[in-house]
Amino acid sequence: MNAPILLQPDETFILNVGPQHPATHGVLRVKMEMSGEYIVNAETVIGYIHRMHEKMGELKTYPQFLMNLSRMDYLGALGYSHCHVLVVEKASGIVVPERAEYIRAIMVELNRIASHLFWFGAFVMDLGGFSPLMYALQDREHILDMLEAVTGSRLTYCYFRFGGLYNDIDDDFIAAARRFIPRMRKSLKKYKALVTGNIIFRKRLEGIAPLTPEMCRKYGASSAVARGSGINFDVRRNEPYSVYPEFDFDIPVYHECDSLARYMVRMDEIEQSLRIVEQGLDKLPGGPIMPDKKPKIIKPPAGDYYQAVETARGSFGVRLVSDGGKNPYRLKLRSPTYSNMHLFDEACRGMMIMDALAFMGSLDLVIPEIDR
């Protein structure tokens, strides 16, 4: 951003970035008012793949709605299901066996690594580097294989059940996960040398799109967007849920506030998730994966309940308003990228288009998750 900003508002033109644009990762449209290469104003237009999950939630019973959550975010599906089962369990007072909670944590963390790997590849591809995407996909493929062997699907898992899990993990999975951890650590070193250390990459991200902590707060940003701006906020730590208090892991926080900081946070998070998986495998208790007694039909008592979890993309929350019936009375899904993306309009003003798109990549967008 050394170049002087040449803002001539009377000579602007409108550039339609999207809904079919290679940099927007899906059907996102940004109407940019440009002055040459500089963005004067941007308006994000979302909702192209809005599916009204919240209304579906009202029309379906609790178990029937389970699989919708994994459709929200196709990269980190398990975190979203986790939140949903947690809030319903909390509301109906179902006690989850410890083993199930451990397996959930392991699975969610593996899924988080997979999601971050895909983001890493797509982000570097946004910057014009294609090979890291393929390397990241190769590593991600190991995770998908493991998850597929347990859950039966590769992307939109429907694995968590109220009170426990769909099925148990086996020794093969544990062995595969144990093999995966050192391999992933080695890959991380490769990424560090190939991408993180690369001068071109650093020059493109250093100092780009500084987001102040205050701005993050006003928009409710979470995940790496907040942590890259020096905010030590991770729902796993701030409001511990599931078995996360049992694990020893760090929350990476960077104070540079730029796109590189957001990148670094996510890369460090992969390492931290590996630590969680490692500890989870060590501590994994035996026992059942479903509670002994569980109501046949889920009918949470009337009232409203909120649960937040830290998904790969940030603080995801489900607000459940129950009237005591078989269906939720109201189910609000608070998606993290929605808030993160909202920042973009204000933050990209005065930026060059290539920096703005690099910034957009650093937000880790998954459009179905914004649109719900």
């Binding site: 290679p22 940099a23 290469e37 591809m125 946004d126 910057l127 991408v195 690369n198 071109i200 493109r204």
Partner: protein
Amino acid sequence: MRLTLINVVIAVVAAIAFAALNAAYLVWAERRGAARIQRRPGPNINGPFGLLQPPLDGIKLMAKQLTIPGGADKAMFIAAPILAMFPAIMSFVTIPFSDTIVAKNMNVGILMIFAFASMGGMSLVFAGWSSRNKYAMMSSVRAVSQAVAYEIPMLITTITVVMITGSMDLMEIVRQQSGSILHWNIFPVLGNSHNLLMPFSFLIFFTCTLAETNRAPFDLGEAESELVAGFHTEYGSMGFGLFFMGEYANIVVGSCLTTILFLGGWNCPFGLFPGVWWFILKLYLLIGTFIWIRWTFPRTTIYGLLNLSWKILIPLSLFNLLFTAGLLKVF
């Protein structure tokens, strides 16, 4: 005059054939190379190792309809891809592949290549402008500033070489590098200059070649994550095909020039059996490096690109020029 004219005609035909063949098979090489780097097989269905892929792609492109977007400047829209191919083919005329394989050796051969290379940038401008597409337009503006910025250090570095050899004749430049690798202009230990900075000149020149041919990491004109496809967003069919061929032909010309100026042309590294095969070997090693670089690095920014040229390459190449001049004065 008699022989030269026939030579020129043959050369032009040969150059077009060479350029087209190279473009086709460099695409194949690029796709295979990229696939290897990414641990994929790459095109492997059509023919052995997918070798039939390029001609089939060519047939596909030719079979397609050339669409001209509404509101486009038709004449220039059609002229631009031709202008993209033309300079590269003209440059082949004067490139000596060996002692004997040269169409028309000129005493200002380097100048000729640079003169025609400077036209290449204009084709991007015309393509971008005539498409009436905002992405294409932005791309052509980028292409102009990029072409201007990198021509300067490239020419200065070339002048350094010309100063050492004292000739703008490409064959003469190669002849002066004959002998082992130590005579080459990249390591002129035994040559007519003892310039220790020549490896850096080579790096500067190579970087500029990357930038002038719009190759990654300097492919800002067609930055797909920002400008969709840049100046050729609106092109399909053979219009796109010509741009594609032009890009690869430019790479070949750039690599030929690098080989001649720095890597001793058709000379063998050990001083044995000079011949066209050495030239071809060096040429394709350089092109391989182009491909290798493309699939390793992310793209630079436009201001990063300009900063690199104006703040690093131009000062360094100027310093190098002065250093060489001083060296020539002393020795």
